[in-house]
Amino acid sequence: MTGNVIEVDNLEHSYGSVKAVDNISFTVKQGEIFSFLGPNGAGKSTVINILTTLKRIQKGEARVNGYDVAKESNSVRRSIGIVFQMLCIDHEMTVSENLEYHGKIYSMPKKERRERIEELLKLIDLESKRDTLAKNLSGGMKRRLELARGLMTKPAVLFLDEPTVGFDIQTRMRMWEYLREIKREGTTIFLTTHYMEEADQLSDRISIIDHGKIIVTGNSDELKNKLGKDLIYLETSDNKLAAEILRSLSSVKSITEDTKSLRVMIGEDVTHVLPQIMEKIQREGIDIIIVNIKKPSMDDVFVHYTGHGLREGDEIEKENGMEIEEVSK
């Protein structure tokens, strides 16, 4: 083992003529939380389904826990835990029975099964619910039960496909805590999400994926720093002209422009640059309506690299009328 739990080389997958995954390569290191961040339809689930051997690999190579996904699918299956995008626990069985069943289909010996169930119920705080039918659990609890189930066999890597989609922020944050705890215990986690915050909060490394391609990979600070130190959000009476003026400044790294606003990435300390910028714009007779300074967020990173925003919902909405221009220095 090279310390990589997942190794993917030149993976491609098409549905008919549509390329869902387009020549993707990446590695996931032992013990890290690795995220695929992208809109629905970007190809995240396809990659997960291939890595978990649920979809046959069409082109490229993938190894999970050292096993070839195409040739050693049973060994791969024994090395992983999965939390599917859609909730899939048996509502007519109790919490512990759901776990018990999972242990049984993975041929865990009885004693080991029982011990593991105890450990996991403690981990996800469902000890008092062990004999409750799954249908009587809250949404968050059901998800936690699935999390526990995924961990039943002590997998080398846990796959989570949009683990917190549809949950309120409290439930989501609680879920994050559990995931961090699981990571501390040494399990590698591969997760897909379209929540910026989720990727930002949890991940050691993030790959932004869009239209089946990995756009960029890095840890959240790296990704943000690549954009610049600070970001100025501007709304003016003439954005186009303002952008043109600002582009001539050496402190400006890049400008993202849409119909309503400008996002100006600054390479140095913004507090010194801002007065200069405002003065320059106003001198041209452009009115400044709104100014806001912030540190770049994952949101900005995403917009910067993909050219469009990330939308929740079932359709990918490609933002039209938004242009990205990188100022080369």
Partner: protein, 277 residues
């Protein structure tokens, strides 16, 4: 050899015994058939057939006992034919995903569900025989304890093969069909000819020729005849007809049902290997 099918079996049985209403109705239904339909029919049939001359030297079996074997066959048919529905719901509510994503071979999934249907069929068979004896069904008349035991083993084996066959069939439909209504109507449509073109309720001797031929290939006829062989003996008369079951006949029942079950298994394997998540 792996034993993962036991997990599937366990899960089915946990749920079978958990929901008392389903459990109760599935157990009470055969009793009702026998009590209401059986008693009513046998009384009217026996009234008519009492006018017919008896075949001399051969024990006479009343209609209730003749039909009792058919009720077992029918009950087992319906429970196994509808038994695959569980797989459709598992697929619909994505419960099947967990199992399909595990190292469990797909054959084990069908086998596990099949074995659970078999267990339920055994329970129903015992209930019908027990209740039938209570209301005067002439099963195992004049048998020694050993003979009764052998007869029960024979019936159990027939019921087991038959149940697996129909469960595989129903599982194949369940895994292919998307909606419950479609499943329901296909099964109902299928159960009609199987049930009526068989010797479950009445002798096939008076059928039109074409139906007679069809009924001889009907697994339900094979099962009903086989049960009668074990429960009523090899030589009796009912409704004025003289019945002789030979060893060849019972052999045909067994081989016919085994052939049926294996064919259905291959269809089930074909359908299951196609399931995509």
């Amino acid at each position: 050899m792996s034993f993962e099918f036991r997990a599937i079996y366990w899960r089915e049985m946990v749920k079978f015994f958990r929901f008392k209403s389903v459990l109760f109705t599935s157990l009470i239904q055969p009793v009702m058939w026998l009590a209401f339909f059986g008693l009513a029919m046998s009384h009217s049939f026996d009234k008519i057939t009492s006018l017919l001359p008896n075949v001399s030297g051969v024990p006479v079996v009343d209609y209730l006992s003749y039909m009792g074997a058919g009720i077992i066959a029918m009950d087992v048919l319906f429970s196994s034919l509808f038994g695959g529905t569980t797989l459709m719901f598992d697929k619909k509510f994505s419960l099947l995903r967990e199992t399909l994503a595990s190292p469990v071979p797909r054959f084990h999934i069908i086998l596990g569900v099949g074995l659970s249907a078999m267990t339920k069929a055994f329970i129903q068979t015992f209930i019908i025989i027990g209740f039938g004896k209570l209301i005067g069904m002439d099963f195992f008349n004049g048998y020694t304890l050993a003979q009764t035991f052998i007869a029960m083993v024979g019936i159990i084996l027939l019921v087991a093969t038959f149940t697996l066959g129909f469960l595989f069939l129903s599982g194949s439909i369940a895994i292919t069909i998307e909606n419950p209504e479609g499943m329901q109507s296909i099964l109902t449509l299928l159960s009609m000819p199987i049930f009526f073109i068989s010797s479950a309720l009445y002798p096939i001797d008076s059928f039109p020729n074409i139906l007679q031929v069809i009924s001889m290939f009907n697994p339900l006829t094979l099962l009903a005849n086989g049960i009668r062989y074990f429960a009523l003996g090899t030589n009796f008369s009912v409704m004025g007809n003289h019945y002789i079951y030979t060893t060849a006949d019972i052999g045909l029942s067994f081989f016919g049902l085994i052939f049926f079950a294996l064919s259905m298994l291959s269809i089930a394997m074909w359908r299951f290997n196609k399931v995509d998540i």
